[in-house]
Amino acid sequence: MLRRADGPSGRNRNERRARWSTRNKLWVSLLASCAFLLAAPVVWGQTQGSNREGAAPNTCLDCHSQQGPPFGINADEFSSSVHAQKGLLCTSCHGGDSSSDDMTQAMGTAAGFKGHIDRAQIPALCGKCHSDAAYMRGFNPSVRTDQLSQYKTSVHGQRLAKGDTHVAVCTDCHTAHDIRPPNDPVSSVYPTNVAKTCARCHANADYMKEYKIPTNQYALYATSVHYDQLMVQGDVSAPTCSTCHGSHGAAPPGVASVENVCSTCHVVQQQTFDSGPHKGAFAAMNVAACIVCHTNHGIQKPTDTMMGTGKGAICVTCHSDGDPGYTAAAKMHADLVKLDDEIGRSDEILSRAEAAGVEVGEAQLTLKDAQDDLTKARVAIHSVRPDVVDQDVQAGLKVTQSTYQAGLAAMAESKYRRTGLAVSLIAIVFVLIALALLIRKMEAGRGA
């Protein structure tokens, strides 16, 4: 039976297992027979139980669920897998006859028993069903059936075709016997688990040594805004490895494709980028757009300091004092900071007025328009054109001017109310004193 291949260690085990299967086939069969005979009384009751409701018998599990590595199968995991749930048996992949109690018949060549599936054969074996649209339609009419053809275009698939069995095959990402649908949070390919699944190989320096590619992608990704959105905020629509690299057709996007990949989510940023001078300049330099400023795996939440000429500004890595790009960067940074400061100033005075009890809800709502303009300006910087950025900034400043005035008016109103209260209280105290004196005068000398 095929066992889960767990990355590099799984590969070594597979190699050992391959040697086992050729040299010691006889011994294995003998041992398996002994194990079966010893386990028979134990599993008898379970077999009876599993057949009680008329389910198809699966005698493979009777033995293999009792065994340790390398032949052991976790019966619970297998029974909760999507394959078992849909009625598939061990024999669906491994051949043989799971209804027979006779091991030689169950695992005999006459029953088409294949035994261990060679790693190189796994994509084709899975593809036998998963590329068959007519067959798959019976389970889910909208399920995709292009995984195998995509896989063949991937770096993994192309290397496998060349005989490199170290690369990932279906079971490396989906597991062999515990396969869950991708929308199952327990699945190894559920959005929040994808990065860790990829990292099992790609973060292993020893395993990746022969490929001479970096292994810090996961470490960088774990610091990124995308990771935060997905893993901390729990937004499963946030990007993980497969979002940018593809899943079955996994490959690094080429320099020319990066912009298109990012723009699947960041549409407006791409549009503004395309309208600016960086588009042509980056293409001429043959550098990947987006990545130049934002990096790839460790993308941080952008800040206004990234744009400009000060400390932490990315623009100065290419532009130096005196060139037009440097001047433009300084101007755009100043614009963003100005609007941000004005929003903060309005927010502060409106908050003070609110705390003083003056109703400023309308002004606070209007201030959100300025925040929207700032967001638009931050997107517009992808055009790297100060005039475009300035349009949004000016619109925002117009709003903050009115909200700040509203804040000043509200504070003046608060002062007016307090003055009015003080005058009223003084008047009331005078009346009270007058009334007390009147009562005293009335009652003086004659009692109540």
């Binding site: 009890g357 003056v358 109703e359 809800g361 309308e362 109310r417 307090r418 009015g420 209260l421 009223s424 209280l425 009331i428 105290v429 009346v431 009270l432 009334l435 007390a436 009147l438 009562i439 009335m442 009652e443 109540a448």
Partner: protein, 361 residues
């Protein structure tokens, strides 16, 4: 003959002005160490008058529909000259009125002022208290903000738990299955027409009964005065008592003005029927002890719904409280102590549960 004198004569011929004046001039109020409790009824009346005046002013701008209610209150708060003051005074005065009404009720209870022949005065007062709570419940929804929307939902849900008539009451209050625009319009109707009409009638009856029977003297003071008749003291209602009452009203006015100017009533966020209920939804403070109690009751008690038993328990307690003059019957000794003990327990329970509700949140 002066104009004033002629007017007096004209009124005298038609309304018996002379008798009314004679009654007022001869009316007295007892003076003793508990006399200050007498001011609470008048102060509640003063706050009711404030409610009527500010309510009428708010009516000039308020619009009772889901699309305009919140905006109209916002307009009152920001655009209408002194609109913020009128609305804040209306809201604060409502809360102070409920507070003074409750304190007045407890003072009447502990001073045993409900005794014969004042049973009807107590009954009309209790009905007025329920009407005032109805004013609070219906008025709370009118700004159509998030807190009031969900609090009304919870409140009407609780009313809907009543056996047999619960469902009918819920639909009647909401104008349908859910809190909606229909609920807003009928709460508006209750708040500005139905309840004021009933309240005015009951106030007239209550004040009339107070005038008819005069101020009650507590049994302990009565006993002291019987033992030492020379210590009996009274002041004239007009002008002596009324001037003192006027001073109390001015103090209430100062408190109201201070609260309205320094802590104007918040408007909150506009209600969104499709949004999830925000955390911290709670009724107004005067319903908190009941709300908190219902949270403590287990879901099931024997075969009964816990919440239902809680509601029935409160209903029975309020009924017994309302009918207390008929239990008391002027008896002395153990029965008196039992009733006073029940009052102390009720007061302590309300205070403790209300404070706990705000501390525990």
């Amino acid at each position: 003959m002066g104009v004033l004198h002629r007017v007096k004569n004209w009124l005298d011929e038609r309304f018996g002005w002379h008798e009314i004046r004679a009654f007022i001039e001869h009316k007295t109020v007892p003076v003793h160490r508990y006399s200050y409790w007498y001011f609470l009824g008048g102060m509640t009346l003063f706050l009711f008058i404030i409610q009527v005046i500010t309510g009428i002013l708010l009516l000039l701008y308020y619009r009772p529909s889901t699309s305009e209610a919140y905006e109209s209150v916002q307009y009152i708060m920001t655009q209408v000259p002194f609109g913020w003051l009128v609305r804040s005074i209306h809201s604060w005065s409502a809360n102070l009125m409920i507070f003074t009404a409750v304190v007045h009720m407890f003072s009447v209870f502990f001073l045993k002022s409900y005794r014969k022949p004042r049973e009807l005065t107590w009954l009309s007062g209790m009905l007025l208290l329920f009407i005032v709570l109805g004013f609070g419940f219906s008025g709370y929804l009118l700004p159509w903000n998030t807190l009031s929307f969900f609090a009304t939902k919870v409140g009407t849900d609780i009313a809907g738990q009543m056996p047999v008539v619960g469902k009918w009451i819920l639909v009647f209050l909401r104008g349908g299955e859910d809190v909606s625009g229909a609920t807003l319009t009928r709460f508006f109707g209750f708040h500005v027409a139905v309840l004021p009409g009933i309240a005015t009638t009951l106030i007239a009856l209550h004040v009339l009964l107070v005038q008819r029977f005069g101020m009650s003297v507590p049994p302990s003071i009565e006993a002291e005065w019987e033992a030492r008749p020379t210590e009996r003291r009274e002041i004239r209602f007009f002008p002596n008592f009324l001037l003192r009452e006027l001073m109390a009203w001015y103090v209430a006015l100062a408190i109201l003005g201070g609260l309205a100017a320094l802590k104007p009533w918040e408007l909150g966020m506009k209600a969104d029927a499709f949004a999830a209920a925000p955390p911290g939804i709670r009724p107004e403070w005067y319903f908190m002890f009941m709300f908190e109690t219902l949270k403590f009751i287990p879901a099931k008690i024997a075969w009964f719904e816990g919440e239902l038993l809680g509601i029935l328990g409160f209903g029975a307690a309020f009924l017994a409280w309302t009918l207390v003059p008929f239990f008391d019957g002027g008896r002395r000794g153990r029965a008196q102590k039992l009733i006073t003990g029940a009052g102390v327990f009720a007061l302590a329970y309300i205070v403790v549960m209300t404070v706990y509700a705000y501390i525990a949140k």
